[in-house]
Amino acid sequence: MKPVVHFGAAVALLGRFPALAGVDLDVARGEIVLLRGPNGAGKTTLLRACAGLVPVVRGEAVVLGRDLRRDPRAVRRRVGLLGHATALHDDLTVEDNVRFWGRAARADAGDVEAALVVVGLDGDLRDVPAARLSAGQRRRASLACLLARRPELWLLDEPHAGLDAEARNVLDSLIAQAARQGATVLLASHELDRAESLADRVVDLVGGMTVSPPAAAASHPGVDQTAVEGLEPHRVA
């Protein structure tokens, strides 16, 4: 079966700096892969390259069956990126934000509502302007924006940062649920204990290059098996 993500000796630039100097990566559908590495190793760049936001200038880069070197925009709608910077408009409320980004991706009101419920922002917080949210609440709101789009490939950059224990558990079960329902998850994290138990395997990134062979598949102890319904990834034609 064709991998969802395939990178071969890929080189990607940030400005003139080769943030990725030779990445080899294959991720199968439904896998949860953890990207591990020191700061500056290129984890964020790799995630953004998978979304087609950073151009790959050498090597191979195929995501969801589309060649990113030829057409970086091909997979945009089908991936969801949770990055360091949030895409929230400070003057809009949580609900306005999720609704805007959801509707931009052709989601309907039900998807938007479900996303708000899952992250726990469907109560009083939904009418709060984004500027007045705490860091953790902003994270959750950003996550809701991603959920409303129902992407096939999840790209999560340090998703646990700023979340309290309960929110982290919800996130972990969301990730596990998404993978079971056919989405593929690539996450970068410094929270190694939690992430390693969540992930199917680990890929190490140092100095812009993938280094060690994939670790053996691990079980998922301690992940709350709360089922989350109705958020299967869309298959966009």
Partner: protein, 271 residues
Amino acid sequence: MTANPPDVTPDIPAHTGSRASRILGVAALAAIVLATLYGLVWSPADVEMGDSVRLMYVHVPTAVFCYVGCFITTLASGMWLWKRTPGWDVLAGAGAELGLVFVLLALATGSLWGRPTWGTYWTWDARLTSTALLAVLLVGYLALRRLDLDPTVRSARVPVLGLLLVPNVVIVSRSVEWWRSLHQRATVTTLDPQIDGDLLVALMTGFLAVGLAFAWLLLHRFRVGWLEYQAQRIDLDEAVAARRAEAARRTGASAAAPAATSPEPAEAVGS
């Protein structure tokens, strides 16, 4: 990397001259001498304008070649967006820079011509006004080029602005001319005088001289820009190699980087 120090790499020439450019340069010098003789000595003064018409022999060609420079910039910007070969970007910059030099010359000579003719250095004549606006448009374009931008950002924004240059110039000059024509009294002493006979010959030599000088300058400016681009490409290969070496040091393993030393030809890296 090789044992040679980078700045003595055989590929990089020591200067931008060549046989073709030397011939062109000599021809330009000859034409300038000829035009000077014709303009200042051999042609008679104009019946109405007197000796100040001699400034026209420089003013009109510089204005025309400024438009040529703008046209080159817009065309090259379009080609850059279409083909994505970096030479077009270099050409666009060269065209705009020369355009600015020549438009300032045109404004200066036009202003100097205005002093004896109208009594002032400046008047809101249609041509002078729209030429001044053209200068500002070029300054803006060059200001954007001068910023230290991420190559991806740069390769999108600079050519779009360059593409808009000629349409802007056309619309601005048409509007200004239409506007001023409502108020202008019919006058013989405009910046587009009727010139014929010996005076026309002088004007033609002026065109020849300015044109050859423009071509020579463009050639050299383009080559300098091209060398700058080449220097950046070499930097990329070095940077990739350095990053890999650092990665190898960090992991302690020998850098078994596959295909690291075979740079692919002419990657358009967006600068």
